[in-house]
């Protein structure tokens, strides 16, 4: 229904085609049922609008709720930030997992958008935030989704606006997020659309509030503007996220590896990066992955 047309409106960003995962409105379980195997692969091509359009009601549901949200997009074409099929359980090999229960891959976590009222200070804050964004000329669509879960509020935001949004959050007298607690990445797995998330935890010491911003990225276009100019503390956090997830923070003063050696290849905390089994330089030795070290059978 809405998907086909509105996806085109959001194509300002390269990650756009993979933007719409059906089943946003539902819980993770529902979305997994709706998102069949073919869906996810079809969406990677970004072409098969007809197929996604077959999913009833998902887009409209989001639109409705996000309109109420105030700070959420005009389009409302949000997007399960992660979705995956449930698959496999026993007899899985090649995964480095020695727990004996390695194969189960659950459906990805697809947070549902929150509906007004959010409860607590969230509503007041969301209004102030929307107002501050308006003042600074940041489009309403910059916030793609709002999720309230377990007493924490998460704003899924478009990456183009992350720097200005952080600046607004830091400087606006009604918001005052003085401290950026943490910037980190999350990889939701190889078969998830827009699998890389960059997560910002902000803390307002004045109002004693914490919020979370999340930028959802396509793994092939993992670029985010750096927020170091707003929060200098993000320097090392962003270097770590680059090191571990391969997210490129454009505008970072020196985006180099920080925990891994400078000449390391790959980004270890990606889900498709194995645990162990990496050749190490130790007298010519090579440590096999944990599941290949010895056989008890």
């Amino acid at each position: 229904m809405t998907d086909s047309g509105e996806r085109k409106t959001t194509d300002g960003r390269p990650a756009g085609p993979a933007d719409d995962t059906p089943g946003t409105g539902g819980t993770s379980k529902e979305s997994a049922e709706r998102t069949g195997g073919p869906h996810s692969s079809a969406q990677e091509s970004g072409a098969d609008a007809a197929e996604t359009g077959m999913v009833p009601g998902s887009g409209g549901e989001v639109e409705q709720t996000t309109d109420q949200a105030g700070v959420t997009p005009e389009g409302g074409t949000r997007t399960a930030p992660a979705a995956r099929d449930r698959q496999g359980m026993f007899g899985v090999s090649g995964s480095g997992d020695t727990s004996g229960f390695g194969g189960l891959r659950l459906p990805g976590y697809a947070p549902a958008p929150a509906e007004r009222p959010y409860g607590g200070w969230f509503d007041e804050f969301a209004d102030d935030f929307a107002e501050a964004l308006l003042e600074r000329g940041i489009p309403r669509g910059a916030v793609e989704q709002v999720t309230v879960d377990r007493g924490e509020i998460t704003f899924y935001v478009q990456r183009e606006h992350i720097v200005e949004m952080c600046r607004t959050l830091r400087d606006d007298p009604a918001l005052r997020f003085e401290l950026c607690s943490s910037v980190s990445g999350v990889d939701y797995g190889a078969d998830v659309d827009r699998r890389l998330h960059v997560v910002y935890h902000l803390l307002s010491m004045t109002f004693r509030r914490r919020i979370r911003l999340e930028v959802v990225l396509d793994v092939d276009d993992a670029h985010v503007p750096s927020v170091v100019e707003v929060y200098p503390t993000a320097d090392w956090h962003e270097r770590e996220t680059w090191d571990m997830f391969g997210v490129i923070f454009d505008g970072h003063p020196a985006l180099t590896r920080i925990l891994m050696p400078d000449d390391w290849e790959g980004h270890p905390q990606r889900k498709d990066y194995p645990l162990g089994g990496i050749p190490v330089e130790y007298k010519g030795a090579e440590i096999p992955p944990p599941d290949e070290r010895r056989a008890y059978s």
């Binding site: 993770s28 992660a82 995956r84 480095g96 997992d97 727990s99 004996g100 229960f101 189960l104 659950l106 459906p107 990805g108 976590y109 947070p111 879960d149 377990r150 007493g151 924490e152 998460t154 003085e178 401290l179 950026c180 607690s181 943490s182 980190s184 990445g185 999350v186 990889d187 939701y188 997560v199 935890h201 010491m205 004693r208 914490r210 979370r212 929060y231 200098p232 503390t233 320097d235 090392w236 956090h237 770590e240 571990m244 590896r257 920080i258 925990l259 891994m260 050696p261 270890p268 905390q269 645990l275």
Partner: protein, 441 residues
């Protein structure tokens, strides 16, 4: 080979590179470097194997004379992939990993992690477990601050501070061993509560400990606080004002030394900290000496909290009643310091097949945690220790990210030491108190 009888020391080895000559100075051969023709600015690599860098921390210092023009820290030498490892283990096993990050404050790692898992699960640990956590955390805080004083003193040449600090820390470790079974890396706090209850006679031991510490902590004032050399090394050194702290994300004693009484225990109480009567020491000098004094003062406050926790401990369970989460284990410590209660094993084996299956599944497969993400923060000895946990609904975490205060605070090192003397870099690093196990994870 150099003649040993020769009075002149061994010359520093010289190597010509595209960046200019590189000298390997090993001590006693600085004259070579001074004599050699070089530009005003020299770059010194310090560490990662250096007794004064507070762990495997590497500092790259650009010096003009004795003045530090630029300072950079290089980390990662202790990276062990703990965050990645957690994704391959059950939520309960995660405790065993995270406790090894900041190895001087293991209980804080465990508690922050478990509070996060409990938030995801929507359960709350029983009161006795909460009080015990507070007691253990404050014990650990004392131990951690003592190590900070001890190693900091050693790095500045106050070796008596080191021996005294480690002596008192030994008391803390003895007590922790008695209470939890291990000196470090306890894995004692578990999602839903504690691994087991305190052993008999814990209250007397803790009370005795408080008594001993009450008598010994004032010695630090005699030994260090008023000592002229100690003061000269620390006062007006490593200055970082409040705006710098906030911009660079510094929390803990660094932030409080700049005048902001920000303490997670007060502003976002967890584990029932709102019930305890204690002060948050604050200073405004924003220098190394203020941080030292705050740490000493915090130890006194921790003793107060420990006493209150002893009084608050009431009989009751230390694990949630939900048998889908709580391990059925009734642990007793055997002669080898480890083990399971044989009686309990016999009971499980004997009573029913189903309970045996349940036990097996819970321990090997773990419990499922509803999908979602949380951020849980506690006040560790070094500042805000935050855990960002993401679950996809499975029995293992999708992501465990740790906001390590050591990692974040270490970013303040250049701001504290650039423009100062090279000897003050050591004081600044010591006052940041980074634990490299936490920095590199």
């Amino acid at each position: 080979m150099t003649d040993i009888r020769d009075d002149s020391p061994a010359p520093a080895e010289e190597r010509i590179t595209t960046e200019g000559p590189v000298y390997t100075v090993t001590g006693g051969d600085w004259d070579t470097l001074i004599d050699a023709e070089h530009e005003d600015r020299i770059v010194i690599n310090m560490g990662p194997q250096h007794p004064s860098t507070h762990g495997v921390l590497r500092l790259v210092l650009e010096l003009e004379g004795e003045t530090v023009q630029q300072a950079r820290s290089v980390i990662g030498y202790l990276h062990t992939g703990i965050e990645k490892n957690c994704e391959y283990r059950t939520w309960t096993q995660g405790v065993t990993f995270v406790t090894r990050m900041d190895y001087l404050a293991p209980i804080f790692n465990e508690t922050a992690y478990c509070l996060g898992v409990e938030k995801l699960l929507g359960v709350e640990a029983p009161r006795r477990a909460q009080v015990a956590r507070v007691l253990l955390m404050e014990l650990t805080r004392i131990g951690s601050h003592l190590v900070c004083l001890a190693t900091g003193g050693m790095e500045l040449g106050a070796l008596t501070g080191m021996t005294a600090g480690f002596r008192e820390r030994e008391e803390v470790l003895h007590l922790l061993e008695f209470l939890t079974g291990l000196r470090m890396n306890h894995a004692y706090v578990r999602p839903g509560g504690l691994a087991q209850d305190f052993p008999d006679g814990w209250a007397e031991k803790v009370t005795d400990f408080v008594k001993v510490m009450r008598s010994r902590l004032p010695d630090y004032d005699k030994l260090l606080t008023g000592q002229p050399i100690w003061r000269q090394r620390l006062e007006n050194v490593g200055y970082l004002p409040l705006d710098g702290c906030l911009a660079l994300g510094a929390t803990g004693p660094i932030l409080r030394s700049a005048g902001l009484p920000w303490d997670q225990r007060k502003v976002e109480p967890y584990c029932g900290y709102e019930e305890y009567d204690f002060e948050v020491p604050v200073a405004t000098e924003a220098d190394c000496y203020a941080r030292y004094r705050l740490r000493v003062a915090e130890m006194h406050e921790s003793l107060k909290i420990i006493e209150q926790a002893v009084a608050k401990m009431e009989p009751g369970p230390v694990m949630v009643a939900d048998r889908k989460i709580a391990w059925p284990a009734q642990l007793t410590v055997g002669a080898d310091g480890m083990g399971n209660s044989l009686e309990h094993v016999r009971k499980i084996m004997g009573q029913s097949m189903e309970s045996l299956i349940h036990h097996f599944k819970l321990v090997t497969e773990g419990f499922a945690v509803p999908a979602g993400q949380v951020y849980s923060a506690v006040e560790s000895p070094r500042g805000e220790l935050g855990y960002h946990l993401v679950s996809d609904g499975g029995t293992r975490p999708l992501r465990v990210h740790v906001r390590e205060p050591s990692f974040v605070n270490l970013q303040t090192m250049p701001a504290m030491s650039e423009g100062g003397m090279v000897a003050d870099v050591i004081a600044a690093v010591a006052s940041i108190d980074p634990v490299m196990g936490g920095v590199d994870r």
